[in-house]
Symmetry: C2
Subunit: 252 residues, 2 copies
């Protein structure tokens, strides 16, 4: 098993930010500067083309730490952030850019699905290895409740198969903003933990009914859909249930 190695540490406004690696995978861990051990852990996934410290993700992480005392973890997806891209990753990005430039929506969808699926297949074992390593930290341990805290788009395309596979995850926030493919519907049917699902009502590329079908497919008896007008890149998810994670992580 790969152990977790901390590399750098900074602190700001009561939040400690520690970069780490597990094997080749760089990650970041945000936690309260002071507080009890075994705080619930929230995993956050970044969107396509972004990275583990993307401002929107970091802002949500800092809020989760300061409001609820959570430990928040993010890692760079394969070929994202500090990580090298494979020739196949470069090719996929070029193909997507090309398809968008020429207005080839069908081609864009096809390349995007193949690329996302490939990323998810690589990212799930990386997340699981990260969880293994995190649970060996005395401050976290094996009994601390863990949730997948989002977000939408690629963060969900990776988080769904992770949640379907790893029984340590006891609740999850997912959301739309990506093309729905059969493997995702399959993952949804295997997921039984409480789900909060964020649906961008007017996504630029993704058909609304496909994403509604994905929500429908979750086996969870407790699942709530929240939809707001706009594309997933522009929506601020205010006015949704902010206590979903605290409730399911036993904080309230």
């Amino acid at each position: 098993m790969n152990t977790l190695r901390f590399t750098t540490q900074t602190s700001s406004n009561g939040v400690r930010e520690r970069d780490f690696t597990v094997g080749d995978v760089p990650g970041v861990l945000w936690s309260p500067e002071s507080g009890p051990d075994h705080a619930p852990v929230v995993l956050m996934g970044h969107g396509g083309g972004l990275h583990k410290k993307t401002p929107a993700l970091k802002a949500r992480a800092v809020e989760a730490v300061t409001t609820w005392g959570f430990t928040v973890v993010a890692i760079d997806a394969p070929g994202h952030g500090e990580r090298p891209r494979s020739p196949e990753d470069d090719q996929a990005r070029d193909d997507m850019r090309q398809a968008m430039t020429t207005g080839d929506v069908k081609g864009f969808k096809s390349v995007s699905i193949d690329y996302t699926l490939s990323l998810a297949e690589r990212a799930v074992p990386e997340w699981r290895a990260t969880l293994d390593a995190l649970q060996h930290l005395p401050e976290i341990g094996a009994e601390t409740p863990i949730a997948y805290g989002g977000g939408i788009s690629m963060g969900t395309a990776i988080g769904m198969p992770l949640t379907a596979t790893d029984p340590r995850i006891s609740a999850a926030i997912f959301g739309g903003g990506f093309f729905v493919y059969p493997e995702l519907l399959e993952a949804a049917r295997r997921i039984t933990v409480p789900i909060q699902f964020l649906l961008p009502w007017d996504d630029e590329y993704v058909d609304r009914s496909d994403t509604l079908g994905l929500f429908d497919a979750f086996a969870s008896t407790e699942k709530t859909l929240h939809a707001k007008p706009g594309d997933h890149r522009r929506i601020r998810w205010t006015g949704v249930d902010q206590e979903f994670l605290p409730r399911h992580l036993g904080v309230i």
Copy 2:
């Protein structure tokens, strides 16, 4: 103009409950036992076959009073609660019961739509007269913000044309659980105030896509859909944004 006459008054756990009439329409007003005048007003509509003090409605009203200090108002819809039924109302109820007994879904839908539309046409001017009378009470006045606080089903079928028509209503909670007919889509297109919309994901009779189309039709730039599994009669709307009304009524 009809004035508002209080008939009975009781108090319990800090909440004052006063029955009233405006013309022939009986209503109830819940408010804090003590507190400042001009507390924001929330209008609540009961479901089909129910009445202004239906336990679920009253529970929501009492919570709104005790948590936020709101004044909450409910009136009996035409032919409901303490109000006499017209021969047409009796006929419609008989026809609906008959259609359900024989499994005539199409007939049930048709009678239900006609009856709901007839109720809404009568109820909207009654609500407006009630608002006129309420605004003449010194404790409320003409400047107090007013929201339509739900609920789903018939409460929405009446609340939507009311909100489309009456500029005094500055925010509204609506929800599914009734057949969508063209007049409702028309009302939605005229509504521009912030909307919270509750969608029963598995309503027994109502097609999900019809209700999604209704949400889509609202002209409001600020609208949020919340969906939970189940039929509208059985869902507990926990885990949705509980601060929607306080936010739009200027309390937080």
